[in-house]
Amino acid sequence: MILGSITGLSACLKAENAHAQMRDFKKIRPVIAAVQEHMFPKNSTLPSARSMHTIDFTEETIFHHTYDKDIRTFVIAGAQELIAREERFLSYGPAQKEKALRAYEQTGYGSNWLARIMTLTMEALFSDPVYGSNINESGWRAIKSFGGIPRPTTRYIA
């Protein structure tokens, strides 16, 4: 490790690792988006995941340096596991998706992963619009609860 930091090797390894993770994420991004859209569908009293671009929020969030890297790995691995169980998940209709996700929920791993996706999606819907979701404060307006003043003008107190 010491040698690595002297030669700058560890920084390269880290960058390579993040790059590989991003490649993995891009592959399963539609799976996570589909799960979010199933959890937050159209015609609900809350804005839909699709209309709030929660998948974009998710991508930016888990790759931000403030996000726990172990959880980032889990978010990706859990989606890979889902698609391994249900190869045609993306082409399923709502009823089949429901069945597949409830079956996945029966496993402890699946249950934890779904809870993590729920958390990320809620974070998208109810964080300040500066983060790119909760567009026009739609999430806040649905529950008549609004963030405090002053609002952030940059993401993560940059």
């Binding site: 199933h38 959890m39 937050f40 569908p41 015609n43 609900s44 009293t45 809350l46 340096h65 403030t66 996000y67 726990d68 890297k69 172990d70 429901e98 409830r102 929920e105 249950s111 779904l114 809870a115 729920m118 958390t119 809620m122 974070e123 819907l125 109810f126 964080s127 300040d128 500066v130 983060y131 806040w140 649905a142 529950i143 008549k144 609860s145 963030g147 405090g148 003043i149 002053p150 609002r151 952030p152 003008t153 993401r155 993560y156 107190i157």
Partner: protein, 564 residues
């Protein structure tokens, strides 16, 4: 190499206690260096960004870089877990002003009997309860001083368990209150319970450069954007900086204090957290104010040939008797369709405080349970953070609720009800199984052993918490709340930490003398809550401020006499 300046005092940490010491010393004309590992966030930069402040490590270190190892008993065996695995951070605000930036500011003084708990209630088996070497009278003037300088709003009402005061009332009237207090006060009266106005370290009126509270609805866990909250950064550091005597070094992490003899610390070995460059900061006196668990860790990590077991540890007591706050919390829901005596619109008005405390059970004399030390209670609304509230109660048995059913559930929760909450503060009894050491293998990114916290609560703490929780649940019932629950456990609130460097008259059994000066090393003081042998049954911050002002007066005396 240029000779480093010799400061009269070097303070490690810029939170409540460091700020109070800096305030007094700089005003007395002494040159002070304050070393803070975190950065400065100015008032104008704070916002109510829930994602950043409450859900990410923005104002605390990344747990993969700096962490603790927490040792807890699982099935009768001690199990150690690094906090990067558990996500349970024991950092509490590492920026200029420390965790005082993020407090809720519910302030109470200790009771005179908290200073003589052993004499008053006797020994408790399995607990290391001792009397303090000072009495309430010794610290009372400093409570008053903190009240004025930090700025505490409130309204004093005599109560048998309210400590005596040398002034008639608080310097400012209470902050504005939500109408729910009418319902709460009425319910308490009906049950024969006395509800008191909570003294709060939040200004209700403008004062100097600080503006009155603007009732943003997001106070605890957030930095204040008007300066109303009595953080060290707002209440103390500006005045200290104005003297021209304070050198505030942010992004400066102290790895070790380096001794020059058995009885003298020479310099702080610090690292610039941006550049990684090390520097030596020399002083006549060193004041450790890094928050209890980190202060003990720093002294343990400063072991050298003069002090093989750590600085100020000839007693072997360094790090021992770490305490938190016992108790727990509970809450219930006030529903639109069942609300009595106040309007739902008034209940839903945002930003205003609940501001109510109950001290009736500070000391308990129960016909069935007997006489014992109890605790205090604070009433408040459930924290108004939106994401965290939206994430609660979304399970139907084992199944996560989603889809339209989730939408209905969340919308109803936010629009048709508001949760009222109580928090119980009772003594966390000091025991042999609650202490700080340094981990033999785990190191932080600066190469220093991380603090290892063995945490175990005494069964009495849970007994007291449960006793009070039952009383509080009755109050919520009387208010008409639904789905009432409470949770009392031995799990600590990591932001309410004290002990580890007990003060006492006997150098064989304590780390510090009654002025919080190390018995072994006259030019070393510990100013934060580390000194407390027992914790009392209220949040610590007012006592931390008051004691640090007291300690600062002693340091001035030492500097004046050129004793170091």
């Amino acid at each position: 190499m240029m000779k480093q300046p010799l400061y009269d005092a070097v303070i490690i940490g810029s939170g409540a206690s460091g700020g109070a010491v800096a305030y007094t010393l700089t005003k007395a004309g002494y040159k002070v260096a304050m070393l803070e590992k975190g950065r400065l966030i100015r008032r104008e930069e704070f916002s109510k960004d829930e994602l950043a402040y409450c859900r990410r490590d923005i104002v605390t270190p990344n747990l993969f870089d700096e962490y603790h190892v927490i040792e807890q008993k699982v099935d009768g065996k001690w199990e150690a877990t690094p906090t990067y695995d558990s996500g349970w951070s024991f950092w509490n605000g590492n920026i200029v002003g420390g965790s005082s930036n993020f407090m809720s500011g519910m302030f109470h003084r200790l009771h005179p009997d908290d200073f003589r708990l052993k004499s008053k209630y006797g020994a408790i088996e399995g607990a290391n309860v001792v009397d303090w070497p000072i009495s309430y009278e010794d610290i009372e003037p400093y409570y008053t001083m903190a009240e004025n300088i930090v700025g505490i709003s409130g309204h004093y009402k005599p109560h048998p368990f309210e400590p005596p005061r040398s002034t008639p009332d608080f310097p400012q009237p209470p902050t504005q209150e939500n109408e729910v207090v009418k319902l709460l006060d009425r319910s308490c009266r009906k049950l024969g319970v006395t509800s008191l106005v909570t003294p709060r370290a939040v200004l209700s009126q403008d004062r100097g450069h600080r503006k009155a509270c603007y009732y943003s609805n997001f106070c605890g866990s957030y930095g204040c954007s008007s300066g109303a909250k009595g953080s060290s950064r707002e209440a103390l550091l500006p005045a200290a900086l104005a003297t021209g005597n304070l050198t505030l070094m942010s992004n400066t992490h102290v790895k070790q204090l380096v001794s020059e003899s058995k009885t003298h610390v020479g310099y702080a070995l610090a690292v610039d957290t941006i550049t990684g460059k090390e520097k030596h900061i020399r002083g006549r006196i060193f004041i450790v104010a890094a928050q209890a668990h980190e202060s003990a860790r720093l002294l343990l990590n400063s072991a050298d040939k003069n002090h093989p077991d750590g600085l100020a540890n000839s007693s072997g007591e360094l790090g021992k008797n770490l305490i938190f706050s016992g108790g727990g919390s509970g809450q219930g829901e006030l529903h639109r369709d069942a609300l009595k005596h106040i309007s739902f619109d008034a209940l839903m008005q945002t930003g205003l405080f609940v501001n109510r405390s109950v001290l009736d059970w500070y000391f308990i004399d129960d016909w069935l349970e007997g006489k014992f030390k109890g605790g205090s209670v604070e009433f408040m609304f459930e924290h108004q953070n939106i994401i965290s509230r939206a994430l609660k109660h979304n399970y139907d048995g084992e199944k996560l609720v989603w889809g339209k059913a989730l939408g209905e559930r969340v919308v109803k929760r936010f629009r048709e009800q508001k949760s009222i909450r109580f928090e119980i503060f009772n003594d966390w009894l000091p025991t042999d199984d609650c202490f700080v050491s340094v981990d033999p293998t785990h190191k932080d990114k600066y190469g220093m052993p991380v603090g290892k916290l063995r945490i175990n609560g005494h069964p009495q703490d849970v007994k007291v918490g449960n006793y009070i929780a039952k009383k509080c649940e009755k109050i919520l019932e009387e208010m008409g709340a639904k789905n009432i629950y409470s949770s009392v456990s031995n799990a600590p609130a990591q932001n309410l930490v004290a002990g580890g460097c007990r003060f006492g008259d006997d150098p064989k059994t304590s780390v510090l003398n009654k002025y919080c000066q190390a018995h072994d090393i006259p030019n070393l003081f510990v100013a934060d809550a580390s000194f407390m042998p027992t914790g009392g049954s209220v949040a610590y911050t007012w006592t931390i401020y008051a004691n640090a002002f007291r300690v600062a007066d002693k340091i001035v005396e030492v500097l004046k006499k050129s004793e170091v």
